[in-house]
Amino acid sequence: MSATVQSLVNQPYKYGFVTNIESDTLPRGLSEDTVRLISAKKEEPDWMLQFRLKAYRQWLKMVEPTWALVDYPAINYQDIIYYSAPKVTEKKKSLDEVDPELLETFEKLGISLSEQKRLTNVAVDAIFDSVSVATTFKEKLAEKGVIFCSISEAVKEHPELVKKYLGSVVPAGDNFFAALNAAVFSDGSFVFIPKGVACPMELSTYFRINNGDSGQFERTLIVAEEGSQVSYLEGCTAPMYDTNQLHAAVVELVALDNADIKYSTVQNWYAGDENGKGGIYNFVTKRGLCQGVNSKISWTQVETGSAITWKYPSCVLAGDNSVGEFYSVALTNHYQQADTGTKMVHVGKNTRSTIISKGISAGNSKNSYRGLVKISPKAAGARNYSQCDSMLIGDNAQANTFPYIQVQNNGSKVEHEASTSKIGEDQLFYFAQRGISQEDAISMMISGFCKDVFNQLPMEFAVEADRLLSLKLEGSVG
């Protein structure tokens, strides 16, 4: 059986091509000058530069965290290119003016940027290396008052909003990688949904790393005002290089009273080859603040790429009756390492959170769930349910769970369940009895294992998640 499973999970990476495009690249290394230069290149106002410099100075004093269960050689932060952008003089008004090479790249990735060709109702912000190259459906969104643009644009056009919310959920000095991001972030998406508006379409950002030596540091900020709703998806790919690249992103979500944010990620960065050479180091800080009463933030993530994933999408449930959700599928293969999970911090009364985490580890990979559920003394009536299941394929793979549960209020209820298992011979036999081949049976069981999470993905993106699953487990998704 294991041979079949091995061949199933060992599918080659399809997005590993490089686009030949002229780029505007800063020299390697990081110093205060680099930070100033990035800020200058982006023509940022002074307050933004000060934000970056403050973060940079804090970063200098911090040490890289070592508590995660991942091994990697020390990163030389002076050997990274902190800014790389496709060479364009200015951002194009119309897609016709965008470099055809770039458009083709995104076509190849299955992301159509030409609005007239789009069938699905999705607005896309495409980020190539460090810079946003195109945002679709902007005008249509603007009719409703929704702002969807790159964060560099937002800094110029909506400084009061950016100033108010940037760093309010993940402060510049939050952790080592967040501080690094705050100092050098190049671009990212900005979403603002005004009071009472339900965003008329799904929003999506597509991240692509192209340059072999550059790090990617994007920053996403989503603000949902009172009573608004938004669903957002990010997707990520990168070419195959045999060196490791650093990706340190920060995502901040703010939900005011009665607002609802749904954030989905399909992460498929290059994971390195079968010997663990190359791949992206994905060190990401994602946090949502349910600031208002009855607000809701829901994270859904499908993590299949990256050599190393270090990521804990969190919810701070500050508003009374607010709701946090976390649905995750993490698939690791070869020498991939994932230390991922969530934090649910209950502060307000009657706050509720749900955690569903599914880990699949194959090959020589390590897959750890690390989660925190914290009920603070004032969070009366708080409720949490967590379930984290692991599936092991092959006896060199590792699955770990580290759930921290901290309860300081007796009017609350916390439940946690975890299990680890493999696909049983008797299950396969049952399928065989019904005339279903082993390969189909395994993929059906894996689909079933992940179903609770995939069901949470917005319908428009179910196709993408399916495509990804079929990529990793080809021929199996029926």
Binding site: L392, N400, T401, I405, Q406, K413, V414, H416
Partner: protein, 443 residues
């Protein structure tokens, strides 16, 4: 940030610089007295542990293993060595077990009390005595004492560097002892002591062990016990560990267990006393098809802290491990649980389950629990679970609908929660005594 944690941070800042914590540890080490001459052979073991612990410091909450257990309260107490204590039967009578009238070892403040102990009429091949008897009658002691992994843990090493006596239980091949062996450690004064016990159950043997820490003093003493248990092939040990120290005492204990193939270890650990109590329970399965059952109950009230850190390391195929840890927390008390289960690649066909259940009885009560699974073998079944809650309103209502007062109903439910663990104790008199105690504590 909560008020409690703010305060404890302030406490840390005020007292526990690393220099202070190292100095405090040296202070504890300086209290150790010389080994009696008949135990001279153990000097080397002591010296080795001394060199391990000498340059270290009492851990702070910055260390992951001690993150929720703040020892700054310990640092504020200066301990001394115990003075010789003269206690007689009347004082300890209430602690004696009728089942163990001829198989009892009593240690007073860590010192063997032969007059209070009784080890007559034991079958051939069974040795129950103190270390002095052990070095004479059981030379294999050197193959077991202080040889468990994890001996470098700071308080374990402190014990190994400081012990001057201890209990030894050896059950030779294929012997089964009917009467439980009762190891009673009595504290009578505000002092530091390092009780030690070594249990060797050889191939095919079977023994029931009761390890009990009790107190005749109300003050702040510090008990730092280490118990090592070795199970030979197909051996069986039923172990009950009861900690009933004074509510002002500090208790940081270690139980380390090694299991050879086909052996069965069943432990019920009940922790009721101590201002700060912590039990490290480490089980190493070294052979195939070993079975481990761990049951724990911690009841804390006032502003006390009760901590259980357990580790089950499987290493061979067909092992089973089953753990249930319960805590009942009232007032401003704090319970901590950390349960690690390691299933390496070789341990295929393991079946392991772990459950942490926590009952919070007051709004200020606090629980930090972390069940932790680390698995590399693919053909295994492992599960863990954790719950934290107060009593269910529905359950209280049900009892009320049967005419039981709400207050009474809550007591009954709390009692029922606790008794699930107590009921597993095989020694009847101890089970009854603890049932009474729990009834009082949960009232």
């Amino acid at each position: 940030m909560t008020i409690q944690s703010t305060l404890s941070d302030v406490g840390n800042l005020g007292l526990s610089t690393k220099v202070d914590r190292a100095a405090y540890l040296l202070g504890l080490l300086s209290l150790r007295s010389e080994l009696p001459s008949e135990l001279a052979g153990l000097q080397e073991i002591r010296d080795r542990a001394f060199s391990v612990v000498r340059d270290r410091a009492i851990p702070s909450t910055r260390e992951e293993e001690w993150r929720f257990t703040d020892l700054s309260g310990l640092l504020q107490v200066q301990f001394q060595n115990s003075a010789p204590s003269e206690i007689g039967f009347p004082q300890i009578e209430s602690f004696l077990l009728p089942e163990s009238t001829n198989s009892r070892l009593v240690f007073v403040d860590g010192v063997y009390a032969p007059a209070l102990s009784a080890v007559d009429d034991l079958p051939d091949g069974v040795l129950v005595g103190n270390l002095a008897a052990g070095v004479q009658l059981f030379p294999k002691l050197y193959e077991h004492l202080a040889l468990h992994p994890g001996g470098e843990e700071i308080f374990t090493a402190l014990n190994t560097a400081s012990f001057t006596d201890g209990a030894i239980v050896r059950v030779s091949q294929n012997q089964a002892i009917a009467s439980p062996i009762h190891l009673l450690f009595v504290s009578t004064q505000e002092a530091l002591c390092h009780p030690r016990a070594l249990v060797v159950a050889e191939t095919g043997s079977s023994v029931t062990l009761v390890e009990e820490y009790v107190s005749l003093a109300e003050g702040a003493y510090f008990t730092n016990p280490v118990t090592e248990i070795w199970l030979g092939e197909n051996a069986e040990v039923r172990h009950t560990r009861v900690q009933r120290d004074s509510v002002a005492a500090f208790h940081i204990g270690k139980t380390a267990v090694s299991q050879a193939r086909d052996s069965r270890y069943d432990c019920t650990a009940v922790s009721l006393g101590g201002k700060l109590s912590r039990h490290h329970l480490e089980v190493y399965q070294t052979g195939e098809q070993t079975d481990t059952k761990l049951n724990g109950l911690t009841i804390v009230d006032g502003d006390r802290l009760g901590d259980t850190h357990s580790l089950i390391a499987l290493s061979q195929p067909y092992g089973t491990a089953n753990q249930v840890n319960k805590t009942i927390v009232s007032d401003r008390a704090h319970a901590v649980f950390n349960g690690k289960v390691f299933v390496p690649k070789a341990a295929q066909l393991t079946n392991a389950a772990q459950l942490s259940r926590n009952l919070l009885l007051s709004p200020k009560a606090r629980v930090d629990t972390k069940p932790q699974l680390e698995i590399t073998a693919d053909n295994v079944k492992c599960a863990h679970g954790a719950t934290v809650s107060q009593l269910e309103d529905d359950e209280v209502f049900y009892l009320q609908s049967r005419g039981i007062e709400a207050d009474q109903a809550r007591k009954l439910l709390t009692y029922a929660f606790a008794i699930e663990v107590i009921d597993r104790i095989s020694v009847a008199s101890l089970r009854h005594a603890l049932t009474q105690l729990v009834r009082i504590q949960s009232a």
